[in-house]
C-alpha cells in the first residue's frame, strides 16, 4: 500500500511537511481527549484537530492536486469552510446539553445559573 503521486521536489517537501504537521496536531488533540480529567476540559481538546489539523491536511491536499493538474485546485476549501463553521456550533450545543444534564442531577461541580437566579430576585 506504499505509493505516492509523482510530484516535483518542492511540492513533495511542502505536501510532506503539511501532512505531518496536520496529523501530529490531530493526534495531540485526541491525546488531550484521552488524558484530561473532566468533560468540560475534554470538550476543548478535539477542536485542535478540527481547526488547525484539518486546515493543514486540506492545504497539503490542495498543493498536491494543484501540482498534479498544473492549475489551481481549491475544492478542498469547501471542507475547510464547512468544518470551521460547524465545529463551534456542535460543541457549544453539546456543552449546553452537558451543563443542563449536570444541573438537573445537581451533583457535578457546575457553575451556578446566573440568569435563573437574577430572575428569581
Amino acid at each position: 500500500m506504499i505509493q505516492a503521486p509523482d510530484l516535483p521536489l518542492w511540492a513533495a517537501i511542502l505536501v510532506g511537511l503539511l501532512l505531518l504537521a496536520g496529523s501530529i496536531t490531530t493526534l495531540i488533540g485526541s491525546l488531550g481527549l484521552l488524558r484530561l480529567k473532566t468533560f468540560y476540559e475534554r470538550v476543548h481538546a478535539p477542536t485542535l484537530g478540527a481547526t488547525l489539523g484539518s486546515l493543514l491536511v486540506l492545504a497539503a491536499s490542495t498543493v498536491c492536486f494543484s501540482a498534479l493538474q498544473s492549475r489551481p485546485v481549491v475544492h478542498e476549501l469547501l471542507i475547510g469552510v464547512f468544518v470551521t463553521l460547524t465545529t463551534p456550533v456542535t460543541l457549544m450545543l453539546l456543552a449546553r446539553a452537558a451543563i443542563y444534564r449536570d444541573r438537573s442531577e445537581g451533583q457535578a461541580p457546575v457553575p451556578p445559573d446566573r440568569l435563573v437566579k437574577n430572575k428569581r430576585e
Binding site: G16, S23, L33, P46, G49, G53, L94
Partner: protein, 93 residues
C-alpha cells in the same frame, strides 16, 4: 527517491491519524457519561475524514475528496441530533 520519501511520509501521517482515531474510539467506548461518548464520536468522524483526504493525496484521485465531504456533512448532522437528544430526550419535537 522523491516519490519514496513522500510515500513514507504519507504512510506515517496515516498511522498518526489512525492512532488519534483509536484514542477517540477509546473515549467513545469507555466515556463515563453520554456526552463523553458523543464527543468521542465527533473526534472519530473528524479523524476518518482527514484519513480519507490523505488517501486522496496518496492515490491522486478526487473520489476520496467526495467521500470526505459526505462524512463531514453527515457527521455534523449526527452530532447535532445526538446533543439535542441529550438535552431534550427527543430529536424532533
Amino acid at each position: 527517491m522523491n516519490t519514496l520519501f513522500l510515500a513514507l511520509v504519507i504512510t506515517a501521517s496515516q498511522i498518526l491519524l489512525g492512532i488519534s482515531m483509536l484514542c477517540a474510539t477509546w473515549r467513545m467506548l469507555r466515556g463515563p457519561r453520554a456526552q463523553d461518548r458523543v464527543l468521542g464520536l465527533d473526534a472519530l468522524y473528524l479523524g476518518a475524514m482527514l484519513l480519507l483526504v490523505t488517501y486522496g493525496i496518496q492515490t491522486g484521485r478526487t473520489l476520496y475528496y467526495e467521500a470526505a465531504l459526505a462524512i463531514g456533512l453527515l457527521g455534523f448532522t449526527g452530532t447535532v441530533a445526538l446533543s439535542k437528544f441529550l438535552m431534550r430526550g427527543e430529536v424532533i419535537e
